[in-house]
Symmetry: C2
Subunit: 323 residues, 2 copies
């Protein structure tokens, strides 16, 4: 959510010479994206986003991310489409960082999504899951269940500074999740980070999914569990079952759930809460002074985790077998 | 250079209902402006900038700033024009902050301006000075010579932490400037902060002057001295007399200098260097941990000040009486 790399006019002019989109009429750093620098570029032909990939993105993952959004956009998923240079490439270098140009998507994101937005999200997410089926590249989810314990260890018990006893609780939760995590559920490419700020709406239409830089191969239902946590809890921490029902039933109309997926949903939601709680705790205790990004409050996901611990079946999410 | 206030979609929708520019198609926080929050708004009718005025801008100064740019824009100066709401007002409130919508100016700023850009700047600055002549409001320059000593006192000798002996040097420089500061030079509304990032170019045309939030009444030649410091020194600290000659001679073709102004220029440039050195030192030692803006390096202006201390007449800036 910050501009980490300043790009001069000479830099951008030289960069744009490799494309056929004309010169820059306007070029402004924008507060968007998790860890990258983004500029809004108004060029002679159209409007674009220029992204410089900063240190948290591994360059070797970029062909996966850029290939994925191209694959999806070509098949009608509302997501940015990478722009090819004169040489055919979509990835080159700008100010010493890997960089790419993608198409600009109009729309605004909703800080407080309503049930109808959750339904549109469910529909789009299922569409994305189906559309990625024949995408040939693969990327393992380094932030799935096996990646959580190293994060926990790196915290060194400091979670207790936020809440006495949290560290022990997390250890128990981790053990349980490691033991019970499901196997063999329907899987494919998931977005992995579909929070409201990554979903644009234009009036009553979902106009774009953005920020695919956590995309990877994992269970589809785990992606849905991430959305459940990110979209269906109110600012006061309460769970909004109406939003959940809209999300899940719209999803299932496009891609129906298996019985196994449905049964696994409470544990997946619990795992998804644990994953974001751990990364937020890590960022909370490890952000350097003077960084430009305020870390998110980890306690939000502690409360979400506590909610799911009390869930006994998918009915708690408004979903019954008939959905 | 950061987004201090997050504006939700509901907030902006309610705000835009007061205007006749249609709904928001896109609304993105941008890294622009000194101390305010700016959003780029693509509305149905056109593209705009929405500015929320943060704590460093005094609300009582806003009628001056907004009135000034409206006055200038109406008379052909390339600067943002405030958009009037249905009720005729240009200033209202958004997320608890004073806020205004202004027109969007295309163009990019030059990190390393060339002599021709300095000439375009000189021409535009002189035009702005002439055009503001009949602007009826006044605002004193709180950062003119009498405002510098309080800044110096607030440093409490800490300049020595950056360079041993700097504090004493600054005291001497201040005394000299306070004693010798000129009186009675041609005066009017100055921009006061016309650094390269506040000047947009579109191909070979100057397309916009922005960020008038230091504008005030002062000597015109002092504004030019600020530009001399901001535009004519190279990254290595050397003075580029070609750029200075382009700046000053283009200016003087639009608004000719008096002999007094010309003679005062070395002292005004010295004072302008001192002013930015003092504010940068103040920000350097007083920025709160966790603020989103990296303070500028004060030493850049120490070196500029040292350069001007060695100047004996306006010829050092490439300008002779005949210009």
């Amino acid at each position: 959510m910050a501009v980490y790399t300043e790009v001069s006019n000479d830099d951008i002019a030289a960069f744009l010479a490799e494309y056929e989109i004309g010169q820059a009429l306007s070029f402004k750093g924008i507060a968007e994206g998790v860890e990258n620098t983004n500029y809004l570029l108004i060029a002679e032909r159209a409007t674009f986003i220029v992204t410089l990939y900063e240190k948290r993105v591994r360059p070797e993952d970029l062909p996966f991310f850029l290939g994925l959004i191209e694959h999806l956009a070509e098949r009608g998923v509302a997501c940015p489409r990478p722009v090819h240079g004169r040489d055919g490439k979509v990835l080159r270098s700008l100010c010493g960082r890997p960089a790419a140009i993608t198409t600009f998507l109009p729309g605004i994101w909703h800080h407080r999504p309503e049930p109808r937005h959750c339904a549109l999200l469910g529909e789009a997410l299922a569409g994305m899951h189906l559309t990625s089926a024949d995408f040939p590249l693969r990327r393992a989810n380094s932030l799935s269940v096996l990646g959580w314990r190293p994060l926990y260890e790196a915290l060194n018990g400091r979670a207790d500074e936020l809440l006495e006893g949290m560290s022990g609780e997390l250890d128990g939760e981790l053990r349980r999740t490691e033991t019970d995590w499901p196997e063999g559920l329907p899987a494919g490419v998931i977005h992995g980070d579909l929070f409201p700020d990554n979903v644009f709406f234009e009036r009553d239409r979902l106009s774009g999914l953005i920020d695919f830089y956590f995309a990877c191969n994992d269970f589809f239902a785990y992606d849905l569990a991430i959305c459940l946590n990110a979209w269906c809890f109110e600012p006061d921490g309460s769970f909004n079952i109406t939003k959940a029902r809209h999300l899940l039933s719209a999803y299932s109309r496009v891609r129906g759930f298996s019985a196994d997926e449905l049964a696994a949903l409470p544990l997946l939601a619990r795992g998804a809460a644990l994953r974001f709680l751990l990364t937020r705790l890590y960022d909370w205790f490890n952000h350097a002074d003077g960084v430009l990004v305020k870390p998110h409050d980890p306690m939000e996901f502690y409360r979400i985790l506590r909610f799911h611990q009390g869930v006994t079946g998918p009915g708690a999410y408004g979903l019954d077998q008939a959905a």
